[in-house]
């Protein structure tokens, strides 16, 4: 909690979980991330998370008009970026928002590494917290339990993107928690989704994870375009792996992915061809 006499700084209100896009991603991929995450812009970063630009919906529309959807984002992004520093006050940040009219601003350090992103709604929600305007119990507020009928979550997975690997499963886990799904069920879903996401990152070119959540069950499907699994019974055998050394060095590729998914699921179905793999699992909430 920030003390009343202390002027809130950008560091106090910014979002630290930054959704950014590597400069060599395509505009199409950036568009997908923005669609799935419902955001209107993202920092474009190079390998060491250094800010090199911003891609916005306006940039994407322009690329669409020019038939440039498969170009790398650094060809169409806005290079002249207005950014904030952690020690800027919220008042200074608001002034920048007013002056430039942008929806979101990246927060960077001296070496231009992206530390966070700030939107005006981040400021509002943090100020609400500081001023204790709403004293609603957050756990009650987010506990929707049986009030929802179904919820669909879609996530694009990029092959070989090890920095982002796991973000889809992480987002799904948060959604399930917010929907009030039981902890042990969330855990099984998270494990299955994470292993499935890692499989796409490790073995496929790209893929899509879809989760359909109802109060009774969670259905997760993962479709990828990739070389496919040659021998599914063998791949389901604990310890069997075709993962490259780089993956093994990260603690994966031990041949436990598919067996783990199967173990976490109540229903499990997988089919594969040289065009790609389709995984379909169900986890019951009771």
């Amino acid at each position: 909690m920030i003390e009343k006499h202390h002027l809130p700084k950008v560091a106090d209100v910014m979002t630290r979980e930054v959704i950014s896009v590597p400069k060599n991603s395509t505009v199409r991929q950036a568009k997908e991330i923005m669609r799935i995450k419902s955001i209107s812009g993202m920092p474009v970063v190079d390998r060491d998370n250094t800010l090199i630009g911003i891609i916005s919906i306006a940039d994407i529309i322009k690329a669409l008009e020019e038939g440039n959807l498969d170009a790398p984002v650094d060809k169409v992004m806005t290079r002249q970026v207005v950014s904030l520093r952690e020690h800027d006050t919220v008042g200074q940040a608001l002034k920048v928002f007013r002056q430039y009219g942008y929806g979101r601003l990246p927060v960077i350090d001296d070496r231009r590494h992206v530390l966070g992103v700030l939107t005006q709604s981040d400021i509002v929600s943090r100020l609400v917290q500081i001023l204790e305007i709403d004293k609603v119990d957050e756990s009650k507020e987010t506990h929707l339990s049986e009030d929802f009928e179904s919820y669909i979550f879609e996530y694009h997975i990029q092959g070989m993107d090890f920095d982002r690997a796991g973000e889809g499963a992480s987002t799904l886990k948060k959604i399930l928690n917010d929907l009030g799904i039981k902890g042990s069920v969330v855990r099984r879903c998270a494990i299955a989704a994470y292993e499935a996401e890692m499989n796409v990152v490790i073995h496929a070119y790209e893929g899509k994870m879809t989760a359909r959540v109802t109060p009774k069950e969670i259905t997760i499907t993962v479709d990828d375009t990739g070389p496919g699994i040659k021998d599914i019974p063998l791949a389901l055998k604990p310890g069997y792996s075709t993962a490259p050394d780089r993956v093994r060095e990260m603690g994966f590729g031990a041949g436990m992915g598919l067996p783990n998914i199967k173990k976490s699921a109540d229903e499990f179905f997988i089919e594969s061809s040289p065009q790609g793999t389709h995984l379909h699992i169900k986890i019951y909430t009771e």
């Binding site: 090890f162 499963a169 855990r187 994470y194 990260m250 603690g251 436990m256 992915g257 783990n260």
Partner: protein, 116 residues
């Protein structure tokens, strides 16, 4: 056993900003294979690992692990520490190797998880 007790026993250095007194582990898991951690780890577990990679934090997040201790004095990158902070996973670093780290905690009363 609280993470602050683990910190004391392993002479560990906390790398994230968390109140370690409030984090309680009922068991521990020593592993360098994340798939094994994902397959066999129970709740309220602290993970000891020699693996330095952001996926360690992702795994900890998926499993709601109590915390992560990097053994053999390996220092994770800023990126890993930032991710751990963002995902609310306390991270510590100890100079003890894996075997000693596990032995010290086991001897102090932090047992393994019951077998299925």
């Amino acid at each position: 056993m609280t993470l602050s007790e683990i910190r004391r026993l392993l002479k560990a250095n906390p790398l994230t900003d968390h109140n370690l007194d409030e984090r309680n582990a009922e068991t521990a898991c020593g592993a360098d294979l994340l798939s094994d951690v994902l397959a066999f780890t129970k709740e309220k577990t602290v993970l000891l690992t020699g693996l330095i990679h952001p996926q360690v934090i992702r795994t900890a997040e998926m499993l709601d692990l109590v915390g992560v201790v990097f053994v053999r004095g390996k220092e994770p990158s800023r990126e890993i520490i930032d991710l751990a902070q963002a995902k609310d996973i306390p991270v510590l670093c100890t100079a003890y190797p894996m075997y000693e780290s596990c032995g010290i905690l086991y001897k102090a009363g932090l047992g393994g998880a019951p077998l299925d």
